[in-house]
Point group: C2
Chain length 582, copies 2
């Protein structure tokens, strides 16, 4: 059997198994060493091959696909720094539990660490930031090696998807010549032609007596709260809502919990806690004795502080990925159990708690805070807070809202209120970087009905190159660019009180006219004049295709002042209410 | 002593030592966790602080500074994916032996792996790709810890610079609050105010009897060649030229050996071997019995093949960094000795070899090849080969030429001929990636008289963001953008014979009008119409400031055909000559 035949058989078996394992999308960056894999992938009748020249953007693009589909996406690149460019997205995938199958081509063993071109040490290249690394065997065509290639593939896809989901890395050494032999029978496999091994992946659950114990502990508890952070499990919203009803506990719903939008019962869902938990009277008034926490840590610092101050409360942290998401060491019970299963199973052992004033107190402060939103929504100038308040109305039914990090995600938390629309909210909240946002959103847009990305100017700049995917693949995306010419979040941090080098180190104005870049990528660019203009543009462009950027220019200083004025006023109202109520 | 005082004293001592250790430039990316270090750096009276929002570009920018100065440059970023974005430049620095001091801010130990925001595992983040990693102590203000901070700093800078130079990584955990106490006495250190420890860094050399042995082995050898790859040691050109004269061996000089330009004697310097070593008759005619090789592996594949085919020759590989740059396992003697010292010391033990016909044979084929360059230089259409041929004339005296990877560096190798101008040639030839090229060139431009960057469209696109540095810091750069709308090198590779998915996977045309992006960064953009236009523009813009991009549009197919036609014709002439000569 010749080199070319072995190379082809090995790779074709691997690629066929990739598709059998549920991977439909591969993002390929051009290169020489990866040639055989890329050429075979392009021949596959079902696999969608997306080409992306910049590997950093490519990996984030795949991350977006995986986030939107809840299935692993694969990425392929050549050897050398190409593979190093994947690192930021891999770190994010690992932190945010998104499944990725990372395939890197490599020089064979005899060309490593001997100064061969484009050869770097790719063994364990991503260190602790992948769930599994395998250095693949050199291509051979014999049954054992073909079986090996197929099982490693199925295994890699399964490990990536298994909770906690994350990236896996397979490094493929290939010898020259690199051209495979492409014919019609490429994917016709001798053994088990429809897939070598189907991996059945279980979910963590507790035994009944554990649920009984927990039910016992919750029995009769009045001052309980449920905190829900970022989750991607569709079953969870219904399950946790029912649990909340049975316990009569309010749900503090992070915008990424997917609980603020949708048709489930939202009576117990509290969404303005980030505002009212800045008030000391409220915090005293609402002191919990028990906390059930699901999903990632919530975005709100006010909420984190509140939980930290209540370290005496019993805190149950439920994690279906068996992680340890508890930065302030507050959990009294760390429960490794799938979140939806936990809610459903616990319900079997719970009597309904009697309705309590505690839930009503939370609801009252939530209503009061919302009433004071008029301060934000009546602003006539373009403003960041109001933008996020308006989004609910402006977004079409069924939209996906992708939100950039730093200020936008915080404003979303503060101002994006409960609604019965079907709106999915996404963000890169694993490591909270501003990198790769455009590409992640574009990857998600491939599998979303209509995608709206809201992000700041530094975040937009950081991944401007990512727009190339929209140009090359005609992806539809609406981008609301909140341009405050620099890093708005720093105006809220203590360094803003030290003006000397503030603009140099933190404000970092770039003074860019993004219209130029948007045009280069064939996008439409609209500078928003006022709220009517934005409203009209949003309405008129719902059906538009391609890239459409709406630039909302704001001012960092007045933005900070508006936020502070809002918080101050609400805080006053809250204090009046709480002191009157007590 | 309070937290703020300890934080400040610790960091100020470190930053003061950074400057005492010879580091003049730090590239800082904005972030929160890195606040105390950034604020202290900005206070330093001598340290140059460059701000760069995109950490990937930032690290390449520092790489460029370090390449141009032959001194370590430092980079600083916040925790999370920011640090992961440094990875490509770190890999390149490691592979190309460029000193970098990488400083990452981190959460303190109690916030690690517990779901805290922007906290990722940064311990050994860059794996095998840094020379040294240290997890720093938490700030404390006592003499021992201050001494520790200062010695680690001096040590890190020295390790980075010591041959083989490369990156080192220091990870700094910082606790909140993050604001240092800035006053006038910030850098007034109690102990050893002018620098804590000066590191004296030696160079590898052999003992006299070793040199004597080597001289003995070379004695009377007629068929010897010297091969010089990428080096950054200024002493080397003179030393190796003298060695070549004593041995009567030709020097095959890679464009990055810095031997093709300059005032040294160039009689023995052969620069067109990449062309004539494609001919079988030439290879037989020029068979060496001994090879002395210095520096990185040369760019030319024809030369690599020639050396591989002569695996029977004695091959001395001299490496001052003690590396193992020998991908084809050809060395018979691997010599860990500084290259310039090797040449100088060996000369003390050598009698001059008698002049040989072998040197003349190399010189004859070199002359013959140059005569045939008319095929390239007489082209009237814009062409890639001719561009590199013309560069010598077009570049001003004292220029630095930075060349992109893939086709440009190969065309430079083929067509950039010997000259007596002072032209420094640079490229990212560690891992040979197309990433970070714009930023590396801009970093180098800070310390170069006039910098010309020649690169392809995919390479330009990959680091388009890097141009922001030129805009923000008014860096002067001339960019010759060779736009063949895609990956030109693949037209020379075997996959070009498989047209089915060629354009999709390898050609990858982006169809971008780069003028838009260049304008966004306040650059000037000129689409070159013909050779006269380019010549005129190059002459008229020598004194220009800011970014100036000259776009030279070429065609991938005709480019390949022109190259092949040139090689075919020269090959014919060479065969005629060799067969006539024998």
């Amino acid at each position: 059997m010749g080199h070319q035949e072995s190379l082809t058989a090995y790779i074709a078996a691997f690629v066929a198994e990739l598709y059998s394992s549920g991977i439909t999308d591969v993002v390929v960056s051009p290169g020489s060493r990866s040639t055989p894999m890329a050429m075979v992938m392009a021949e596959h009748p079902e696999l969608k091959v997306h080409i992306h020249v910049d590997e950093r953007s490519a990996a984030f693009f795949a991350l977006g696909i995986a986030k939107a589909t809840n299935r692993p996406a694969a990425i392929l690149c050549t050897s050398g720094t190409a593979a190093a460019n994947y690192f930021p997205a891999i770190v994010e995938a690992h932190s945010s539990r998104v499944p990725l199958v990372v395939l890197t081509a490599d020089r064979p063993h005899e060309l490593r660490e001997v100064g061969a071109p484009q050869a770097i040490n790719q063994i364990h290249l991503y260190g602790q930031h992948v769930k599994w690394f395998a250095e693949m065997a050199l291509p051979e065509e014999n049954r054992e090696i073909i079986r090996y290639a197929r099982t490693v593939c199925a295994r890699a896809a399964a490990i990536a998807a298994q909770a906690p989901a994350g990236p896996v890395h397979l490094n493929f050494p290939f010898r020259e010549p690199l051209i495979p032999k492409l014919d019609e029978e490429l994917f016709q496999l001798e053994e088990r032609p429809k897939g070598y091994v189907k991996v059945q992946s279980g979910e963590l659950t507790l035994e009944n007596n554990h649920f009984q114990d927990i039910a016992e502990k919750l029995k009769g508890k009045e001052r309980g709260i449920i905190v829900c952070g970022n989750t991607s499990d569709n079953r969870f919203a219904m399950a946790v809502t029912r649990l909340s009803e049975a316990l009569n506990f309010p749900i503090l719903a992070d915008p990424l919990s997917q609980l603020r939008s949708g048709s489930h019962n939202q009576d117990n869902i509290i969404e303005t806690y980030d505002t009212f938990l800045r008030n000391e009277d409220a915090k005293t008034f609402l002191k919990p004795e028990v906390v059930l926490r699901f999903g990632a840590m919530p975005i709100s610092k006010a909420l984190s502080n509140f939980l930290k101050e209540n370290h005496g409360a019993e805190q149950f942290v439920i994690d279906g990925g068996g992680g340890w998401r508890d930065p302030a060491a507050l959990s009294t019970e760390m429960i490794f159990c799938n979140e939806a299963i936990f809610c459903e199973q616990l319900l079997c052992f719970l009597d309904t708690n009697s309705s309590s004033g505690f839930l009503q107190d939370w609801q009252s402060l939530n209503v009061l805070t919302k009433e004071n939103m008029s301060l934000v929504k009546d602003l006539t100038e373009l403003s960041e807070g109001k933008l996020f308040y308006q989004l609910v109305d402006m977004l079409p039914e069924g939209a996906t809202l992708f939100v950039g990090n730093s200020m936008p995600i915080r404003d979303l938390d503060s101002f994006f209120l409960n609604n019965d629309k079907s709106i999915k909210v996404m963000a890169n909240r694993g490591a909270n970087g501003i990198d790769g946002t455009v590409s992640t959103a574009l990857g998600a847009a491939l599998y979303s009905k209509s995608l709206y990305l809201v992000l700041g100017d530094l975040t937009f700049f950081h991944d401007l190159n990512g727009l190339i995917a929209a140009k090359l693949y005609n992806i539809d995306i609406h981008i609301i660019l909140v341009n405050n010419n620099g890093g708005g979040i720093f105006s809220f941090l203590p360094q803003s009180e030290h003006p000397k080098n503030f603009e140099l180190l933190f404000g970092t104005p770039l003074n860019l006219e993004f219209e130029h870049a948007v045009r280069m990528f064939n996008g439409k660019f609209t500078k928003i004049k006022d709220w009517n203009h934005l409203d009209m543009e949003m309405k008129n462009t719902i059906e538009n295709s391609g890239i459409h950027v709406f630039e909302v220019v704001t001012n960092r200083d007045s933005n900070r002042d508006e936020h502070r004025e809002f918080w101050r006023t609400v805080s006053q109202e809250i204090s009046n209410f709480v002191n009157g109520a007590q």
